[in-house]
Structure formats: C-alpha cells, structure tokens
C-alpha cells in the first residue's frame, strides 16, 4: 500500500515538473538474473523529483539541469547513483544486496523481515550457494556462515560433509543439524539437491530460533527454500558446466631406492641390537652400511624386481590423473493469473579420484502454486531424485596403495594385475580392487520428497495452512569382492552382499497464523502448530561367500556356501507429535518480543515420559529507530538481541525403553533351542538430551549499508546427555543407558559485510565471518573421566589423548634414551611425571581437540561492468588430526613424510628412524587456510544476448581448491580427510567452465 501511495505522489510531482525539463529514459535490470525490475524508485538527488519503473522496468524522468545525480533504489538491492550528463538514455543494472536489512528471510513456519528477527538466524542467498559450483549443497556452505563448520570426511564422490552448528554438544549421538526443505523436515542427506534450485538457505543457530523445532532442534536447523515461479512469460534457463579434477599433490611415498635404503637402515639397526641383552647393544652407527648387502634385506622376489628397475607407485595406477564432472540443468519458470510454476531437471556426473568410483544423479524438481480462489492457495514442492554411486571399500586399497613395497610389480606380462607380487602372502596388490569386474560396490538411491500445501485465508489477518510432506527413499547397495581383492586377501573366497533399505515418512502440519497491526504501533504475529510425523525404516541384508562364478556378483546369493551366509532384516518405526505456539510482538517498530513454546511427544520414550515442553523467548531493541539516534545519518540499523531457549535431542533407538533381548546359542539333544536372554536393561526413565542456550547479539548497518554485520555471543548447556553407565554385572547387566552427562558450549560469532567500492562500473564487496567455539564436558556418568572414550571433564568433547611427541632421540642422548628403552633415532615422548618410564596412565596427555577452535570465511566479490571475480576462502584453526598414514612400519614403505629421517649419519633429522611407531606420533596440527574457490564470470550485454536470440548469457570459469595452506606439511594429503577412517586422499583441485543461458 505504502509503495503505491508513494508512487502516486511521485507521479504527481513528475507531472508538475514536466514542462521545464529534459526527459531521461532507460531500463533497470537485475544484475544476477538480467530480468527487468518494476517498481524501482528513481529520484533526482536532493529534490523531491522522482518516479518508479513500470512493469517492464522502464522509466522516464524529467531532469531540469545537467550534472544532476539520479538515485536508483529498491528493496533488496544496493542503491546506485549516476550523474546525468545530458544523455537521453540511461540503462541501469542493480545488484542484489547480500545483507539488506529489509530482506525477508525464512525462520521456520513462516518468514520475517530480517530486521525483525530476534534470534540468531543466518541467511545465505541461493546465488551465493550456487556460485562455487559444489556438487553438494552443504559443501557450499563452507566459509559462508559464522558458526557453521563444514568438513569433508570422505573422498568418495557424492558424499556429504559433516556439518556442525556452533560446535558439538552430544557425546554419543549425532550432532548433525535438522534439515528442513520447503517446510518439511527431511531425513537428511542432501546429496540429491541441486544448488541452482535453491532460493535461500537459512541457518537457525541458537535455541531461541531453533525452538520452533523443539525436540529436533538441538543441533541447529538448516532451512532450504527452493525457487518458485513468478507470474509472467515463461523463462527458460539452461545451465551447464564441465570440470576436471586432479590431485594437487600425490602423497610422497618412498621410491625403490629410498625404500631399499630404509631396509638397509633397518637391517643395520637389527645388527646393532641383535644381542639378547640390551646392555650389549652396539652404539648406533657402529655397523657400516657397506657391510650390508642389498640381498640381505630383500627377498629373492624383491631383489629381482629391484635389479630390473621396478619402482611402483600404486597411486599412479589407482588415482585418476583427471577425473571429469559435468552438470546440466534445464529449467522453466513462469505463470499466469492462477498458476505459477518452476520446473527443473538436473543431471550431474562426477568421477572420483580413485578409478572406478563415480557418482551420477538425476533430479526433477517441480514447484507449483495455484490460486484456487482468492482465499485458497495450493502449493506443491516436490523432488524426485535417482542416483548411482560406484564406491570403493577403501580400507584395504588405501593402506596397500600407500604402504605397498615399490618393488612389487604392478602387472603381469599379460597386463593383468599381479596378485601376490612379493610372493610372501602378506601383500595383496591393490590394483585388483579396481581391475576388471573383480570389485563392485554400487549404491542406487531413489528418493521422493515434497510438501503438498494448502493455505486458506479466512481474513487478511488469519490464515490456515495444511502441509502434508511425504518422503520415500529406497536404496540398494550391491557389493562384490572376488577372491583377488584386498578385502578378501585372507579368505580366498569371494564375498557378495546385497543390502536393501526402504524408508518412508510423512509429516502433517496444521498451522494457524494471525498477523495484524493494531493502532499502527502494535504488531502481532502469532503461529499455532499441530503436527504429526512418522518415519519407518526397513532393511534387508543378504551376504554370502564363495560364489561359484564372479559373473554372478551379488545377484545369486543362493549359490554361496551355506555356512557363511548372513541374513539380516530390521524394521523400526518412530513417531512424533508436536504442538507449538509462537508469538511475535512488535511495539513501535522498536521493541520486538518473540515467545515460542513447543510441546513434543516421541514414540521412542516410555509412557509418562513421552512429552516434553521446550520454551524459548527472545527480545530485540531496534536502537537505531529511537529518536535519539534518528539524527545519526550514518546509522542505518542498530539492533540489540537477547535470546534464551531450550531445545531437545532424542537420539535413542526405537524400542530402547523396553529392554532388548539377545539371541544366544542353545540346543537340546542336538536340536536347536531358540534362546533369548535379557541384554539391555529396560529404562523407562529415558528422556531427551536438553540444550539450553543464551544468545546476546548486536546487528548493525552503517553508511547506507556499506558496512553491516553482527556480533553474537552465546553460551549453551546440554544436560541429561544419554550415556551408558557401567553397573555391576551382579544385576545381570553391565551397563545402562541413562540421561546423566552434561556439556557446555560457549562462543562468539562475528559477521561483517559491505561494499568497499560502489560505483557505476566498479563494485567490490567483502563478506567476512569469524567464529570461535569452546566446548567442554561438564559431567559424565560416574563423575570422573572416561579415559576409554577419551572423555575428560573440563575438556573439549573430542580430543586426541596420547603421549606427547618430543622430537627424536639424538646420538648424544643414548644413556637417557635407554631409560625409556629407546635408542637414538627413536621418537621421543614427554615423560610427564618424570618417573623415567612411559606408561599409559600417567604420561598420556590431551594433545589437542579434534574440532577447530575457530573457523572463518572470507568472500570477495569484485565486478567491473559485466565482468565479475569472486574469491571464497575459509579457515579452520586450532585443532589436531590423527594422520593415520604417518606411519613407518618395518617392511612397508614410508608415507606422508619427507625423506628427512634419522640415521646415525643424519643425527639432526626432523623425523625419527623407521621402526619405532606409536599412535601418539601421528597426531599433528590440522589448522589450515583454504582458498576454496575463485570464479571469473562474464555477463553478456543485453545487446549481445539479443543478437544471438537469448535474453541473457553468462559464462564463467571456476577453480575449486586452488590453494591450501596448512601449518603441518601434509605432503599432499588433505588435512580434513587425513583423519578419516579410510578415505585418505590428496587435496583435489577442480577447474570448471560453464555457462548460464536464459531465453
């Protein structure tokens, strides 16, 4: 209303001024989409002379004199000024403003103007998610949002990173956030969402904002909203990109010569230390390497290979030097008076670093909005996805690939991979895992999810919304390893397995919303919710060994050997029932209050404990709107926020409160007797893990939004953590799951953004975020530390706990080293209590935390005319990783370290000699700074686009992971995946070229 009113006033003025001036005309378009923008305010600066653009984005205004300045402004876009030099035509491109205060963002069960939000909510535009061209939407969040830590845990294509919002608070259960897509909580796993379909992502970080999701909000909430159709002619878009990835650096493994040198060195040590009495050991270096013959340290097989020049680096055979990816998306949006639509189809294919691995995905997204009547609107938001992943069981292959002897011949003369190249039965050639049809691990997933929604407006103030969100997910994994693969090396038979998972769930939400402003100063926004949700999970597994023919793979398990078959099937059902009420009250557009109460029930808990109430409240004060600051022209916005709330987590398995029985073996007279004994103590008292947080924050915007940002400090406490408590077995049970533990999270988040340069041709904006999180265990079951789980009261939730590495014992420290049964060249560890022995109890210390102490991100967007240049960087600091491949075992090659290891002749070496190996030595600083992405794009001018018959065209080139700086030299490994159980792969660099066409 206001806008129309203003427009009318402006038009009147235009009419008044018409006679004495010159007319200027032009078109205003959106920089990102190229679409024209109707309703843009155009004002001659310093006057009341102004107009607005019409429905086609055109304007015309009369200017009385030359050198006047025209000011273009519109909600959601950065204002722009142009000096009028007497030209007749002035076309203007407006750029969307990342952090415009009046932007509307989704907050769960509705949306709010950003300036009215009282909780800690971050919003990321779809275009910012999409700009880095990450195959996985979650990976695109890295470095973009304060308090959101994204780390890749697997090198398999198609895998999702781990996301932590404001740190970790649960010890035994998942800390993954709840993901809500178009209003419906999903089962997670967003591999199948295409980033170009996303309009925005909102992250609810504190309890006061996540409380609307009550018992599921404890890990934070990520809300994804997909693009919808707008009224207008159909707009077709085609987006495509092609990319090539290659390892930035292979892991440094020893060459054949280095390997032989290392074995000679080992033999020397053996000879020096051959006497059964330690006291008689020779001083290091007293045996000369010249006295050791290469043949003494190599088996016949290896010696033969060495003399014939074999020098295998299995990485060369197993890694793809170049793995390709391509992505195509075809979309159409538009709509008429009644129906609006946004339909898109997407195809993505990505090859993995390891040969044979890849990921292929097909997605169809259909969003419809139908105005059935003036009062009734029906919306459909649906996605169908199908994907196929070829994976590797990479435990065996990764280890053999890095540590296998370089003297192992990779291939036979006929080109087939060797099986037992060292002829010692100990080393299986890892190439067998990728060769021919010897191995398969194919996962196929079909998934449908959507929201079928109806909104009925009783009055302008009151509406009722019904959301029905079904989800179906079916996946099948077929695994086959023939007898040659690393996994089967010790068995000599093939292993085949077929696994079917079937998941269904539905959500039904009834929402009543009331929204009204009274007396122009009291604004009330109330939401009432009643929802139910059910999810079912079924799984069937069949496994067999010794399939007669490899060609049968996993498709004829009935031919496997009877005695080794595995058959499993499971079925679980979980239901939720929730009531929620939220009231937003705004007084005078200065004082904002939000109260939320959610009452959640879960089927997993016992009768009487099923329901829990999760309240929250937050207040905000828009100081910027106070009269005493009205004269401060530089200040656009200043807001203080304070929030408090509780949220829950209910991660226990269904049926936990009953007490599960365990099948045990039993027979009478050689006949089976079905036997089940009590195995888990039924605990009817089980309840939620509850997180309570306080959040204090300030939001600000200065100088027409050229600098904006916010600072949040928070403190959260999670109580009633579910932990196993050990109890005496005399009760019949060794442990019981109880709500006993407590953890705490504290942190600060700073977000800064703004335009460094704003001019007609140049624009440079910077977004910066920084967050620090400190988590701490406050209480465990039994009161004290739990060393077995590496849980220590007063310390972070995940730590590395071991002896502290203290360099290398040097030659002149022989006597001292002997006290610890070590020798010069061995790794040296700190004897914490000085008792001259290293023992587990007293000398192990906390070496560091596994989650970063602080994370940060920087995005720079620079544009000149139609060229744009974007750089995204992120950092994770202050954590350690257990670099599992930093090993130096006797007969395998040395990996992940430079060649500078200790020998008697190299006493100053950085790294110890090869034999002594403990886990402690593997823990290294994982802090890193990563340039995640550099993009260079060019938007064709309208004229050029029109010439080739399209509305708009953009071309871009993009490099992912161009640089990585880490404080420890990972020798090519990625610090994020170096600690992963199996997928230890080098950092990948990807080059992408692509185009977007709109027609």
């Amino acid at each position: 209303m206001k806008k129309i009113f203003l427009t009318m006033i402006c038009m009147c003025m235009v009419l008044l001024n018409y006679a004495q001036s010159k007319e200027v005309t032009g078109i205003v378009t959106d920089q990102a989409t190229g679409e024209t923008i109707p309703g843009v305010n155009v004002v001659v600066k310093g006057t009341t002379n102004g107009t607005v653009t019409n429905i086609d984005g055109k304007y015309s205004i009369n200017v009385s004199k030359t050198n006047a300045t025209l000011l273009f402004s519109f909600v959601g876009y950065a204002p722009q000024e142009f000096v009028y030099n007497g030209q007749g035509k002035l076309d203007v491109v407006l750029v969307t403003d990342a952090l415009t205060v009046d932007e509307v963002i989704v907050v769960g069960y509705g949306s709010q103007k950003k300036s009215d939000v009282t909780g800690a909510v971050s919003s990321v535009k779809g275009s910012f998610i999409n700009e880095t061209k990450e195959a996985n939407v979650m990976a695109a969040l890295a470095g973009k949002v304060a308090g959101v830590d994204v780390s890749l845990k697997s090198g398999q294509p198609g895998s999702s990173p781990e996301i932590l919002i404001r740190g970790r608070s649960s010890l035994s259960y998942s800390n993954a956030p709840l993901v809500v897509v178009d209003g419906i909580p999903t089962s997670g796993g967003l591999e199948d969402i295409n980033s170009e379909d996303i309009k925005s992502m909102e992250i609810l970080k504190d309890a006061s904002s996540a409380a609307i999701y009550g018992a599921r909000g404890a890990n934070g909430v990520i809300i994804i909203t997909t693009k919808r159709g707008k009224k207008g002619k159909p707009t077709f878009t085609y987006d495509a990109y092609f990319g090539i990835s290659s390892p930035t650096n292979k892991a440094k493994v020893q060459s054949a010569d280095e390997y032989v040198g290392h074995l000679l060195e080992k033999e020397r040590k053996n000879r020096e230390e051959s006497d059964s009495d330690r006291a008689n050991w020779l001083t290091p270096g007293s045996v000369s390497l010249n006295d050791i013959d290469v043949q003494d340290v190599l088996t016949e097989q290896q010696y033969d290979a060495y003399t014939s020049g074999v020098d295998t680096d299995f990485q060369d055979e197993i890694f793809r030097n170049q793995s390709f990816q391509q992505n195509h998306r075809f979309g159409v949006t538009g709509g008429g008076d009644v129906t609006r639509y946004a339909v898109s189809m997407n195809y993505l294919k990505q090859e993995g670093t390891m040969k044979t691995t890849d990921y292929e995905r097909y997605t169809l997204r259909t969003n419809f909005d139908i105005d059935v009547t003036d009062r009734l609107k029906i919306s459909l938001s649906q996605q169908v996805g199908y994907s196929e992943s070829n994976l590797l069981d990479d435990t065996g292959i990764v280890y053999s690939m890095y540590t296998g002897s370089p003297l192992a011949r990779a291939y036979n003369e006929d080109g087939t991979p060797t099986l037992d190249p060292l002829k010692d039965g100990n080393f299986r050639n890892p190439i067998n895992d990728i060769y021919g049809n010897q191995h398969e691990n194919l996962r196929k997933t079909f998934r449908y999810f959507g929201n079928i929604s109806a909104t009925y407006k009783f009055t302008d103030d009151l509406k009722y919304i019904l959301n029905v969100g079904p989800e179906f997910k079916s996946s099948q994994t077929g695994q086959f390893n023939n007898a040659n693969t690393t996994k089967r090396a010790n068995f000599g038979t093939s292993l085949a397995r077929k696994e079917n998972e079937f998941e269904t769930s539905y959500t039904v939400e009834n929402i009543l919303q009331f929204n009204k402003t009274f007396n122009e100063i009291h604004k009330l926004d109330a939401t009432l919710l009643f929802s139910v949700q059910e999810s079912n999970y079924e799984e069937t597994v069949a496994e067999g060994q010794g399939i007669p023919s490899d060609s049968q793979k996993y498709n004829r398990l009935q031919d496997s050997k009877t005695e080794n078959r595995v058959i499993e099937s499971t079925n679980t059902r979980t239901r939720w029932e929730s009531y929620m009420a939220r009231f937003n009250y705004t007084l005078n557009d200065k004082y904002l209050f939000t109260f939320t109460g959610r009452y959640d029930g879960s089927s997993k808990l016992s009768e009487g404990n099923k329901y829990e109430f999760f309240p929250s409240g937050s207040v905000a004060w828009k100081i910027g709107n106070e009269d005493f600051l009205a004269n401060v022209e530089a200040l656009d916005n200043l807001k203080l926020r304070l929030g408090y709330g509780t949220v829950g987590r209910n991660p226990i398995d269904p049926y936990s409160t009953y007490g599960e029985l365990k099948a045990v073996e039993g027979s009478f007279d050689n006949q089976e007797a079905v036997s089940y004994r009590p195995d888990e103590l039924p605990n009817s008292e089980l309840s939620w893990e509850v997180t309570t947080t306080y959040n204090l924050a300030v939001d600000f915007a200065l100088w027409q939004n050229r600098l904006n940002g916010s600072i949040d400090v928070y403190k959260g406490k999670t109580t009633d953590l579910l932990l196993d408590r050990l109890i005496p077995i005399t009760s019949g049970y060794k442990q019981v799951l109880e709500n006993v533990g407590e953890t705490e999270n504290r942190g600060i988040e700073i977000t800064l953004g703004g335009d460094v340069i704003r001019s007609k041709d140049w624009r440079w904006s910077l977004d910066l975020n920084f967050s620090h999180n400190k988590n701490e265990i406050k209480k465990l079951s039994g009161g004290g530390d739990d060393v077995g789980n590496k849980w220590f009261v007063g310390r972070p939730l995940q730590v590395a706990y071991d002896w502290k590495y203290d360099g290398v014992w040097r030659l002149n420290q022989l006597a001292e080293a002997e006290k610890y049964l070590a020798r010069p060249g061995d790794a040296r560890y700190v004897d914490q209590n000085g008792d001259e022995t290293l023992n587990d109890d007293d000398d192990r210390v906390i070496l560091g935390q596994l989650d970063p102490k602080w994370i940060g991100g920087l995005t720079s967007r620079l544009s000149y005319k139609n060229l744009d240049f974007t750089v995204v960087a992120s950092t994770r600091q202050g954590h350690v990783v257990k670099h599992d491949l930093r090993i130096q075992p006797g007969n395998t090659r040395r990996v992940g370290l430079s060649g500078d290891y200790w020998t008697p002749e190299n006493d100053g070496a950085e790294f110890p000699r090869y034999t002594r190996n403990t886990d402690a030595y593997k823990t290294v600083d994982a802090s890193s700074v990563r340039i995640r992405n550099i993009t260079l794009g060019y938007n064709f001018t309208n004229e050029m686009a029109h010439k080739i018959g399209v509305q708009k065209i953009r071309m871009y080139a993009n490099v992912q992971n161009p640089w990585l700086f880490s404080s420890f030299d990972f020798d090519g490994f990625d610090p994020d995946t170096a600690g992963a159980a199996d997928s230890k792969i080098p950092t990948l660099r990807t080059v992408i070229v692509g185009l977007n066409v709109t027609f």
């Binding site: 089927s603 027979s667 036997s675 019949g732």
Partner: protein
C-alpha cells in the same frame, strides 16, 4: 463459510484422533515383553540353560575359562605347554582381580541368574492358564539358578545373592554368607524336586532326579551327611539310571544319551546352532604329532596342550583298573605314508600305516625292552623334546603325556575345527554312588557297610568284575579314600577343584601332589612345582573381579589375599 467449517473440522480431527498415536509397536527386535507369551518364556528358559555351555564352551574366553577354573591347580591335573591359563596352576599373581577368565565366568553366571530370575518371576503369570507347565518352567529355572549359585559359592565364597528379576539399574551388590546361599539353593532345589516331572522332555533338560542329584551334592558340601545319604540313596534306588557296564563305552562319542548320565550341558556339532562348542577335545591333548610317522589329523585331534595329568593321578590307578585306558589315550598309530616311505627308502625296517607309532606305557620299560621295537630304536631327529617313541612315565613332559579318551572327538569335519559337540556331563550316576558312600561314611553315626557297598559298586565296574573279592581291599571309607576314588572315576570331568575346595583339601593336596617334575634325559630335571610352592589358604577362593568392585556404589569387599 462452508469451506471454513470443513477446514475447522479437519483441524479438530487431527487434534483429537491421536490418543494412541505415540504407542510404540515393537516389530523386529525381541524385547522383555516376549517373556509374557507362552512360547517366549521358553526362549528365556532356554537361554538360562545355555549359561553353562557358554561357561564351559567356546563362547567364553577361548573355550578355556570354565575348564581352567575347575581343572587346573589341583592334585590330579596340571598345566600343559601352552596357553595363558597355565598360570592358574601356578598360583601366581596372575590370578588377580583383573583376570579376564575369572571375570568372564563371573559375568556369564550372573547373566544366567538374571535370566533365570526373570523366567521365575514371569512364569506364573505368563503360563497362568497351564499351572503344571508354569511349575515345570519355574522348577527348571530354579534348578538352574540353584546350580549357578552353587558353582559361584564354591569358586568365590560369599557372593552377591539376588532372587529377583532386575528391572531398574542396580548399583549396589552384597556378599551373602555362604551358609545363607546354601539355604536358598536347597529351597530352590526342593521346589524343583516337588514340581519337575520324573522324566525330562528332551535330553539336556532337567527332571526331578537331576534336582535330587544336585541336592545330594549340595548337602554333602553343607556337611549335612544324613540327608545327603538319604537323597543320594533315593536316586540310586528309585531313579531311572544305571551304570554303563563298560567304563570306556560310556565315553563313546555316539553314546551321549546313555543310562548313566543324569544331566549334561548341551553342545552340538551343528555350527549353525552352536558356534561356540566344547573345547575339551583339544584342551586335554598332548603333542602326539611330534612323534615320527604321526601327522596331526581329525581322528587324533588338535592338541592345544592345556591340561596334563599329574604323576599322582596316573599312579593312583591299579593295573586292573579299566578306567585308566577309559580315561587316557596313550597309543597313536602311524598315519604318515610319506615319512614311512622315506624311512623305508633309507633301508630301515618296514613300518606300515596303522602300526603303533607313539606309545606311552603305564609302566616304565627298560631301554633293552624298548629297543625290541623299531620305533623305540629309531628315536627322533630334530624333535629334541621327544627322545624315543616309547615314552616312559618319567620322561613325560609338558608336551608329551597321556591325553584323553573321554573328550576325543574324531567326528569333526576338519582337524582345525575348534567347535566340539560333545556334551559336558554335569552329573552321572557313578558320582551319586560316591556321594552316598561318602555321606554314609561321614555321617554322625557312620554306616561303613553302606559306604563300602556304594563305593564298591563303582569299583566293580572299574575293575570289570561282579565280585567284590576281586577288588583290592579297602577296609573302611574315609575322606582320602573318597578323594582317591573320585579322582580316578571323575578325572577330566571338571570336578576336582570343587571336590577339593568343598572338602577343605585344596591347599594340602596341591602342596603334596600338584605340578610335575620332568626328568627327561638331557633336561636337568626341570620342575614345575610352582603351584605347590605358591599356594596359600586364600587361593581356595578366586578373586572378585575388579569391575564388580569398581562398579558397585557400596563397598564390595575383595576376597582376602588378593
């Protein structure tokens, strides 16, 4: 307005229809409420039965825990060459509160007790419609509970006693006096005698005669000799059991259902049912395969060399006693044609497959006599611990000693197959005779006639005679006579530790007879009498597992000495 009404109704429907929406239907995993069904309570009862096979079998600590705790460190058996359980014989510090074998057994019995308690608690209501069945099920569960406690008190002394199903976390534990636990055991057994049928439904389940047998044994341990005699005599006179005429036949692998066995813990060869199995077929074996011409094979078994008979035991048997050969395997036959061919090719005398290749005669032979046999002359090259192939008793060592005929299991599919299927015999009639004999001899007014009669019934079978006059003379029965007879009759049957402990004879007899002395030529008379030197009175009780002490919120006292 009409539409609005419909929507309001819809909304209201959702609000009211959900009374039982959150009820949890369990499908898939079995939870404790399955015990509320008649077939489900049998699952629980069966699980209680499986406790003993688990303790004595491969599901617990490599199949050695139960056997080690009942066999080693006694006067009749000592350790063989291999296995960490050697230390049970040596009474070293290794037997400590963190000992994993002791902990495993402790845990398994308490799981079994809780399972039995659960069945006992639920049987009356679950089987309310069939009171006889309810009593039968409860009777079996009470029997098992009684036996489990009987096992525990004889190993640990006063232990935690509970007769109720655990339904909420229990963090306190008690040490109930042995006498009181015995009272509970007797009550449970009396209930079982009252309510169990005379004939069990299937082999491996217990009947009232089994309950009486255990009761007689328990009463003996309680030194209530009069009642013990009475109950034992009842079993002998009225029970359906008979001594198997030939001692060796009783141990035929296909004779597990014989008329003498009263109750045996069940094992089966079917791997799909019994993945653990009874490991006894390996534990009592010696290194027969170190002899020339003999290869390790399924017939002779996989020698784990854990248990070796003491000199004392081997010398207890008279030459006429058939139980020596019934118990010990002392002869192995040539089965290695390759080695025979090599031997013949060297121009030596002919040996054929099936000829005796290794022999451990009961009495020492002179070298002259031994030289009469080819194998005795040849000796062994490279296998220095076995000098000849006829090995005299004074040449036995921790690898070579008489093995077992009771547990040998030639019907396994493969020589390395560990899962033995032989049932563990818990009670058999011969023991009841010995209980009757002992009780009559030791009761307040001893009846030596009866005592001798019962003893001689067992001996007659052993000496393969029907005439008492053929037996070596025993004029009266006393504790030593009984212990000697039990040693011979029940060797290798997992009884000896209990026999010695309940009679207060452990320390005395281990000091006298425990361990062994090797005086093999070439070895400087190696002794392993560590057990005899180390044993102290406190060793008659095992240490309470440290985890029990740590996890109890009240103070749970350790047994003295540990």
């Amino acid at each position: 307005m009409k539409k609005l009404n419909i929507l309001l109704i819809l909304f209201a429907l959702f609000l009211v229809s959900c009374d039982d929406y959150l009820d949890e239907e369990v499908s898939g995993p079995l939870t404790t409420n399955v015990y509320d069904t008649p077939e489900g309570i049998q699952f629980g009862l069966n699980a209680a039965y499986s406790t003993l096979p688990t303790v004595m079998g491969g599901s617990t600590r490599n199949g050695e825990a139960g056997w080690a705790l009942t066999t080693l460190g006694t006067d009749v058996y000592t350790n063989g060459r291999d296995g960490g359980i050697r230390n049970f014989d040596k009474y070293t510090d290794w037997i400590d509160p963190s000992n994993s074998y002791i902990e495993a057994v402790w845990e398994e019995f308490y799981r079994g007790i809780n399972t039995a308690n659960t069945v006992i608690a639920k049987a009356p209501s679950t089987l309310a419609s069939n009171p006889d069945e309810a009593k039968n099920v409860e009777g079996q569960a009470r029997f098992l509970r009684a036996y489990f406690y009987y096992w525990l008190v004889r190993q640990f002394g006063p232990v935690h006693y509970t007769a109720t199903e655990t339904t909420a976390p229990e963090t306190e534990a008690n040490r109930t006096a042995v006498e009181e636990i015995y009272k509970h055991i007797v009550t449970d057994l009396e209930y079982a005698i009252e309510n169990l049928p005379a004939e069990a439904a299937i082999r491996g389940k217990v009947n009232n005669w089994a309950a009486k047998t255990v009761l007689a044994d328990v009463l003996l341990a309680m030194k209530e000799y009069d009642r013990a005699a009475q109950v034992a005599e009842d079993v002998i006179a009225n029970g359906p059991y008979n001594l198997v005429p030939n001692y060796a036949d009783m141990w035929n692998v296909d004779n597990e259902g014989n008329s003498e066995f009263i109750w045996s813990a069940q094992f089966t060869e079917d791997e799909l049912i019994d993945g653990g199995g009874n490991y006894a077929h390996m534990l009592f074996l010696s290194s027969y395969d170190s002899g020339k011409f003999v290869l390790r094979d399924t017939e002779n078994g996989r020698p784990w060399k854990r248990f070796r008979p003491t000199k004392y035991l081997l010398e207890l048997y008279d030459d006429e006693d058939t139980r020596y050969d019934g118990t010990f395997k002392t002869v192995w036959y040539a089965n290695d044609p390759e080695e025979i061919d090599e031997f013949i090719a060297d121009g030596k005398d002919a040996v054929a497959v099936g000829d005796t290749a290794l022999w451990l005669p009961k009495h020492a032979m002179t070298n002259e006599d031994r030289d009469k046999y080819i194998i005795g002359r040849e000796g062994l090259k490279g296998k220095t611990y076995l000098d000849r192939q006829i090995v005299n008793p004074n040449e036995y060592n921790d690898r070579i000693y008489p093995a077992t005929n009771k547990w040998i299991q030639p019907n396994r599919p493969d020589v390395n197959y560990t899962q033995g299927g032989r049932d563990f015999v818990v009670y058999r009639l011969a023991e009841v005779y010995l209980i009757a004999s002992e009780a009559n001899a030791l009761k307040a007014s001893p009846d030596q006639t009866k005592a001798l009669n019962f003893l001689n019934e067992v001996r007659k079978r052993a000496y393969n005679t029907t005439n008492v006059s053929d037996l070596p003379v025993i004029s009266s029965v006393d504790l030593d006579v009984i212990l000697e007879e039990r040693a011979k009759e029940l060797a290798q049957e997992g009884k000896r530790w209990f026999d010695l402990v309940t009679r207060g004879k452990l320390v005395e007899r281990v000091q006298l007879y425990g361990g062994y002395i090797d005086n093999l030529p070439g070895y400087s008379s190696r002794t392993n009498r560590e057990g005899s030197t180390n044993i102290r009175d406190y060793h008659a009780r095992r240490p309470i597992p440290q985890s029990q002490i740590d996890r109890s919120t009240n103070e749970y006292p350790q047994n003295p000495g540990y």
